[in-house]
């Protein structure tokens, strides 16, 4: 893990959390959508908040895939859960929702989980790969 990789994990959290909040803000302006009038969803794309939210979620997906290309799924999922905390904080200040004591305890637990998993290794090395890496290193040493 290096700084660039931590920045990718940060991008997963920030874009995921911000995207959700922006979408919610846009959908609040539009009002409820009924399942038998799904074409209303097309008009939602004319709302600037919704467009910004969708762009954020595309950036989220791209950084999520990048993270999965060099880290385990069971590492990426908990490590990026701070996005939920961001949603709670943004909801409080941007959407003016109440954040109860329960939620603050939830935020604390998630933060502990994230801190705990990111101190461990990011990628499982299978035996065959380890063998390959060792060979590679030995070749370097010889050269």
């Amino acid at each position: 893990m290096n700084l660039r990789k931590y920045l990718v994990l940060l991008a997963v959290m920030v874009f995921g959390g911000t995207g959700d909040v922006l979408l919610k803000r846009g959908m609040q302006e539009l009002g409820p959508i009924h399942l038998d009038h799904l074409q209303e969803l097309i008009t939602a794309l004319g709302n600037l908040w919704v467009v910004a939210g969708v762009l954020c979620l595309i950036a989220f997906f791209a950084s999520y895939l990048t993270a999965l290309s060099w880290a385990d799924l069971s590492y990426v999922l908990p490590a990026t859960a701070l996005g939920y905390v961001l949603v709670a904080i943004l909801s409080k200040y941007l959407l003016h929702e109440d954040v109860s004591a329960f939620r603050w305890i939830g935020i604390l637990l998630i933060s502990c989980g994230v801190g705990w998993v990111t101190r461990g290794p990011a990628l499982t090395r299978h035996q065959r790969e380890e063998h390959r890496v060792r060979e590679h290193e030995e070749q370097h040493e010889l050269a």
Partner: protein
């Protein structure tokens, strides 16, 4: 009976999105480090490579199934039950699937983290 219907929809969300995550993860591991690939061949090549990967497309389909099960479950039950229970259960089921299908080394540290995040997410949506 109704709660059985609701919980099977929640189970469907959890299974479909976890399977989607596992397939996406497997696809990305086959492709290799996306940053390095982009540095060598450019962004268009990365996008082309990702969309040619069969497991990636299967993963996307699973995600879509998960999304529509979520919409269905939301129309049957309260958002305050459906959203937190499906989001938090997904952390545990994904960890199990990552261990079984991706042979990831899910050690004590990762189980504890998955559990903490699972409880935390459930509390967050109270």
């Amino acid at each position: 009976m109704n709660s059985l219907k609701l919980w099977s929809a929640i189970g469907m969300i959890v299974l479909a999105s976890s399977a989607g995550d596992v397939l996406l993860s497997a696809a990305m591991k086959r492709i290799g480090d996306l940053d390095e690939l982009r540095a060598r061949n450019g962004l268009a090549a990365v996008v082309g490579r990702v969309f040619r990967e069969k497991q990636f497309l299967m993963g996307l389909c699973c995600m879509a199934v998960g999304f529509f099960s979520l919409l269905t479950a939301l129309s049957w039950g309260d958002a305050s039950l459906v959203a937190p229970s499906s989001a938090s259960l997904t952390f545990i089921v994904s960890a199990v699937m990552a261990k079984v299908f991706l042979k990831e080394n899910v050690d004590g540290r990762r189980w504890v983290s998955a559990l903490l995040v699972c409880i935390g997410v459930a509390l967050l949506t109270q």
